[in-house]
């Protein structure tokens, strides 16, 4: 019922527009020269001409060599922005800007294992330059290089992005700057055409529309003579031509401007997300790669955790229980022995049995303690009451005195709480083990969207994430939920390690 009536309504609407169309077209054609839009289009056609000339004049001399490509890139982008803003102001066409210039990834690594790093980086398609134990990797983001060194267990002494060279190479290769340059090249003929159409048609139209007047003026004053006067009646024949040119000018200007906009959207915009190599797809590709890497970490991490739990069980509680069963078995046999053989047999060595039971008892207690520690390592039950309670317990258990500052008005998601808890545990353990600190502070602050855990200590500083180390592992775990780890640890201290996590994983 409702579908049928909807269809009827649509049909009627169509019908109505169809009957109304010829009249409205005529009105539009006649009114076109006098609309605001038309004047804006004409103004655009005229104003963009000097801008196009200026852009080309700026661009052409900078095409000489690489350094000039790089140096002119910001200017080229500004000129592109000027074109976009002109189109926005006069044509109402909002072409979004391309992504900003980015440094091309150049990473400087100092490593004792340079040979392997070079081989690995080259295998990933990077350009590599090597000088002794210094390796420069071009084309792999810093995070990738860090992953690579972790995965391949390549020791690194330092790893930092080389920004100056990165910006230079980034500016030279920036795809959008080159697209803008090609726009400028294509724009000039378009701009000439725009100018001719807009100014030419407008002026010629006005001229012919008023042709009889000019003719009469020419007859009156010889100074204005055209040399070949036309009779007044004949000169009126030019009036329709003038009207035609005036009426046609808006449409032609509009058409040429549309062509300009097509070029602008394609060459000065961010490009379509679907096309390969376009910035959006680059961003997406990077995101996908990042997710792939962090997901692999998450999987590896949980597999490693399961393995270590299994190891702990196997070597700890399970072994304790086997030993316990063994001792009780032996004790039982000694007691059974008496039952089987009756009173005639020698009485069981009760001291020995008591000793076996005592050993078994001890094994049982040890197994219980092992299991408790292990269970807490899997999921601390105090975490169920919220992060503040859990961190209070953690701070209280620490060997180094810890002051806890906690401001968590709303609870983050359970996964984030767990990661935050284990991060704090790892950081406090590091303080106790390595820092030589006398006291430490544990801060936990949750603002909407962000949970920040920070551990500061007054130890000797100089902490850095070594491959395979706890901090590196922590950084990787934190990255799996799009969090980050920041270490500020100058030699001599103090050390502040900050873990930032999203509220929800």
């Amino acid at each position: 019922m409702s579908i049928a009536s909807g269809r009827d309504a649509a049909f009627m609407r169509d019908n109505h527009t169809m009957t109304g169309r010829p009249g409205s077209w005529l009105r539009r054609i006649l009114r076109a020269p006098f609309t605001r839009r038309t004047w804006a289009e004409l103004a655009y056609a005229i104003v963009s001409f000097p801008l196009a000339v200026g852009a080309l004049v700026f661009t052409v001399p900078t095409l000489v060599n690489g350094p000039l490509w790089a140096a002119s890139a910001p200017g080229v982008r500004k000129l592109g922005a000027a074109h976009r803003s002109l189109a926005r102001t006069l044509l109402g066409e909002d072409v979004p800007p391309p992504p900003p210039l980015r440094p091309y990834p150049v990473v400087h690594v100092r490593t004792p294992d340079a040979d392997r790093l070079v081989a690995q980086a080259e295998a990933k398609g990077a350009k590599v330059a090597r000088n002794g134990n210094q390796v420069r990797i071009i084309g792999l983001p810093v995070s990738w290089v860090a992953e690579l060194t972790t995965e391949e267990r390549i020791a690194i002494h330092s790893l930092r992005p080389e920004n100056k060279l990165g910006w230079y190479r980034g500016a030279i290769r920036d795809r959008h700057t080159w697209l803008a340059r090609s726009y400028f090249a294509l724009k000039l003929p378009v701009a000439v055409f725009q100018l001719v159409v807009a100014a030419g048609f407008l002026l010629a139209g006005l001229f012919y529309l008023t042709y009889p007047i000019w003719q009469e003026l020419a007859k009156a004053g010889p100074g204005l003579g055209t040399g070949n006067p036309v009779p007044l009646a004949a000169s009126f024949l030019f009036v329709p031509l003038g009207a035609f040119l005036l009426l046609a000018a808006p449409w032609l200007a509009h058409g040429v401007n549309e062509l300009d906009l097509v070029l602008m959207r394609g060459l000065l915009g961010p490009g379509s997300p679907g096309s390969p190599g376009s910035p959006d797809s680059t961003v997406l590709t990077e995101r996908v790669r990042d997710l792939e890497v962090t997901r692999a970490h998450a999987v590896d991490d949980s597999a490693a955790r399961l393995r270590s739990i299994e190891r702990d069980l196997h070597d700890g509680a399970q072994a304790q229980l086997v030993a316990l069963a063994m001792k009780l078995g032996l004790a039982k046999e000694k007691l059974d022995h008496k039952e089987k053989l009756g009173d005639t047999a020698a009485p069981p060595d009760l001291t020995r049995v008591a000793q076996l039971v005592d050993d078994a008892h001890r094994s049982a207690i040890e197994a219980i303690a092992e299991l408790r520690t292990l269970a807490r390592g899997i999921h601390p039950s105090v975490l169920d009451n919220g992060l503040t309670d859990a961190l209070t317990t953690l701070a209280a258990r620490s060997v180094v005195p810890v002051e806890l500052v906690s401001d968590i008005p709303e609870r983050p998601s359970a996964a984030i709480e767990t990661i935050a808890y284990f991060s704090a545990a790892e950081l406090l353990a590091n303080v106790a083990k390595h820092s030589g600190a006398r006291r430490a502070t544990l801060e936990a602050v949750h603002v909407p969207g962000l949970l920040r855990i920070r551990v500061t200590d007054d130890g000797h500083g100089g902490t850095s994430p070594v491959p395979g180390g706890g901090l590196r592992g922590l950084a990787e775990r934190v990255r799996t939920v799009d969090g980050r780890l920041d270490i500020d640890s100058p030699a001599g201290g103090p050390t502040a390690v900050t873990v930032e996590l999203p509220s929800h994983a």
């Binding site: 190891r311 196997h314 070597d315 399970q318 072994a319 304790q320 086997v322 030993a323 069963a325 063994m326 001792k327 009780l328 078995g329 032996l330 039982k332 046999e333 094994s363």
Partner: protein
Amino acid sequence: MRIVIAEDAAVIRAGLAEVLGDRGHEVAAAVGDAEALKAAVAEHEPDVAIVDVRMPPDHTDEGLRAAIAIRRDHPGTGILVFSQYVETRYAADLLAARSGGVGYLLKDRVANVGEFVDAIARVAAGGTAFDPEVVSGMLNATRHASTLAALTARERDVLALMAEGRSNSAIADRLVVSERAVEKHISNIFSKLGLPPSDSDHRRVLAVLAYLGS
């Protein structure tokens, strides 16, 4: 019996030495890793070596690989693999090299000291001692399904006990039947497996091997 123990968990190693010592056996060496095990076996030539599967450095199957090497290099030494897990592949690997003087027990079995020491004695004497769980794990493996289908449920029980290393009379006791009935079941098993009549002990081993997937 002279025994070498290789087990990385100190608490179990000490417990085993205590149990075996208590029964009057000589524990020639109790070591914590595979290399030390091979050295101890070469030095003491024990009747049997009790070997944990997972040992340092990698905690995977170092013990098993050492056990296979010992079977090859020291035929006189029985091997009792001792693990917290049922891994049918391990048992198959062990049996692949030689059919007798081998065993695979779960660590749980040590709780019954009497049976555990009996199993060690069987292995030392060149017999087999497979944990019921190991045997049933192997019998359940799909690749045996077709051959297994030919056997009756009772014949399968008998075969499982044979694989554990039990004698006919022990099997008869366990299944509460006469020894005669057990012999009949065994001969049915032999014929269904197509094992030619020959030395019965040899056929017994072959029957077990056929099912344990050597």
